[in-house]
């Protein structure tokens, strides 16, 4: 919703969905068209100059999109980079097509990938290990004309995909007006302290590192100087409550649960430090992180995935290998110099100018135009693969170098021009 209004102002946009419900405000921005993943209306879809597919890890939202994207090449925007779980669940559990999953693993990771996949299917390897070692990101961009990620670190792997250019764009975010930002800072200044207010936001899964966070807080001599609120749905609330109890943090840690938009506004305007850890990371960019900066909040993040690419002077990093010690060091540093952390949050807020949706749209459309220019290369490679595969069946490579050279030159001529030697 950050990008769409801006994109629709300068381009004719049609939103395709296989979902039953679409947020009412989206109808105001662009026409909605529906498709069935098993029988997409290609004629209507082909009316567009280019298709942009937003893919992530959520099977209900993204399986149909991925299915269409494999047939009609377009730009794939990756909202998650670790897609192993997505493909395993889709191919093996839903489609009952173990072979397709094994082939995908072999396609990108060779024999090692296939063997690990077989071991995983047999229960011999953990899901976490598969996700980290075999993210299957490239399977999502297999037929793409281009891939957009919001994580610069992902480019290296993506650019190994033949004929598919990739770009890392800053995650789009429309920052609040300066006056509103100033009001938020003023609200924070009005909060009596200590104790300082710490918050964790969002869907609080195991990878949000609540256990080491609680452990760090419990082991901190100055822990009474802080109050921690875990805002959002917990993956296992009773487990977290047990931890809080066990560590003697009942007076320090509270669980306010899911917050409304108004409550979020109040909470972020009156807290002092946001803790936004992820490990392992699925590689995704964090809208919450940009939101924290929009309130001028300093943040603790894990030095991994997208978070590792954040400005060094706008965030405090926690290393996965020494989480408890790093968290404690940062909290002590905070107590020693709250102003330094406040300045960190302000620098984060300033960095939001790089995330302006118009900047994002401009970069995305430029990239899409370049990818379209290169699309004939995708056709050339598809033809070369097809011909190469056929020739391999009956022609020893050494038998006819002339033929191979001639075929190569003609494919080049057909798709790229007549610069033949």
């Amino acid at each position: 919703m950050q990008v769409l209004p801006v994109l629709a102002r300068s381009h004719e946009v049609v939103l395709w969905t296989d979902q039953d419900e679409v947020a009412p405000e989206v109808h105001q921005i662009a026409p909605i068209a529906r498709y069935h993943p098993g029988a997409p209306p290609w004629r209507e879809i082909n009316n567009g100059t280019i298709s942009i597919y937003h893919l992530g890890n959520h099977l209900d939202f993204h399986a149909g999109l991925w299915q269409v994207s494999t047939q009609q090449p377009g730009i794939v925007v990756l909202h998650d980079l670790c897609l192993h779980d997505f493909f395993f669940t889709l191919l093996v559990r839903h489609r009952k097509d173990r072979g397709a999953y094994l082939n995908a693993m072999e396609r990108w990771y060779g024999q090692e990938g296939r063997q690990s996949a077989e071991a995983f299917c047999a229960g011999g390897v953990s899901a976490e290990s598969m996700t980290q070692n075999f993210p299957l990101t490239r399977e999502a961009t297999r037929n793409a004309l281009g891939a957009i990620t919001h994580c610069g670190g992902a480019l290296e792997e993506l650019q190994e995909t033949p004929a598919c250019p990739a770009a890392a764009l800053d995650f789009p975010y429309a920052a609040a007006e300066e006056s509103r930002y100033r009001a938020r800072l003023a609200a924070r200044d009005g909060v009596p302290h200590p104790p300082y207010r710490l918050v964790v936001f969002g869907y609080l899964n195991r990878n949000r590192r609540l256990e080491p966070l609680l452990e760090a807080l419990a082991g901190l001599g100055e822990r009474e100087q802080f109050r921690l609120e875990l805002c959002g749905q917990l993956w296992d609330e009773s487990h977290i409550r047990e931890q809080i109890e066990r560590l003697g943090l009942n007076s320090i840690v509270s669980l306010p649960g899911f917050l409304s938009d108004d409550q979020v506004e109040r909470k972020l305007s009156t807290c002092h430090l946001a803790i936004n850890l992820r490990y392992p990371s699925m590689g995704e960019a964090s809208l919450s992180q940009l939101q924290f900066w929009d309130y001028g909040l300093p943040t603790l993040v894990t030095r991994t995935g997208w978070y590792a690419s954040l400005p060094e002077d706008a965030t405090a990093f926690v290393r996965p290998a020494s989480e408890v010690a790093d968290i404690q060091a940062h909290l002590r540093a905070f107590l020693a110099d709250p102003g330094a952390f406040r300045a960190m949050g302000e620098r984060g807020r300033r960095s939001l100018k790089d995330h302006h949706p118009q900047t994002y749209v401009d970069a995305m459309t430029r990239f899409a135009a370049e990818a379209l220019q290169l699309s004939r290369r995708a056709s050339a490679l598809a033809l070369a693969r097809s011909i190469g595969s056929d020739l391999t069946e009956w022609l020893p490579a050494a038998a006819s170098p002339y033929l191979l050279e001639r075929v190569s030159k003609e494919i080049y001529a057909i798709f790229e021009g007549r610069r033949r030697g």
Binding site: N46, P73, S379, L383
Partner: protein, 346 residues
Amino acid sequence: MKILIATSGVPFIRGDAEILAESLRKALSEAGHQAELVVIPFKPCPPSRIPEQILACRLLDLTETCGVRIDRVIGLKFPAYLIPHEKKVIWLLHQHRAAYELWEQPEAGDLMHYPDGHLIREAIRQADRELIPEARAVYALSENVSERLRRYSGIAAEPLYHPPANAHLFHNGSASDYFFCPGPVNSTNRQWLAIQAVAQCRERVHIRLGGEPASFPQQAKSVNKGKWSDRVEWLGRLSEEQKRDLYANCRGVIFPGVDEGYGYVALEAMLASKPVIATSDCGGPLEFVLADQTGLVAHPTPESLAQAMDRLWAGRRCAAAMGEAGRAHYQDLHISWPNVVEKLLC
């Protein structure tokens, strides 16, 4: 000269392009050359296989046969016109229309209905843009085809007109009380437009539709139930002789089609000294119809077409005069096979 005519065709399908290729071969032979057809089988579906067919053409070697040099290759149809030859001349009948003008007419073109349609379209367009200019000269079937080539591929081509098959056998007979609407019955020939026009006519106009229906149009089903159904006659498939007789004895000829590559119907009407009613978007025939002199040009609506039909129906003398003017105009155009041969071999 030893000349190969490179064209492509769908096996078991014979149409105007096949007749043209054979006529060209005959004309070249009559001019004293050795000419043969090289017909590449073309399979447009699925479109993903089209690049392979382009490549197959590019790999053919037509430079010589049994040690004897091929002096000239004349390319006619996609992808055969992409076969390389040092002295190739292209006489473009049409490009792969689904990748060009029919992309915008999904009911007529097929490529747009495929998920990889965009990619294949771009591959075809790129191959045409890059490889058509290899030819030492590029001619087009008509101004309409030439304009498409310029618009889509940025390549100039001189229109080169040729006579319809058996042009010398067309003749003028009486002017009976019917309009003739020839051609295969299909969506692009839009016979339904002429049928709907009959219902709008003030005069008691009759039309005869000649040609085999590819599918019986929905619009025709409804007209058969209408009060004017006795004024529309479906003749079905016609022999060449029957067709010429229908031309010879009609009041005028109607061509309501859309974006036709070449104006065969107009030329045949002119040879039979008959006026032509053409629609303003019919393409090739408009190159030969002089509005209000050799025929009438109507908007592609039943109302406009009906007005034109009424005018010729009521003005028998005017219709005859336009027909004569059409015949004279045909002579002025100097459309002949020797001209075609001379151009292609110069």
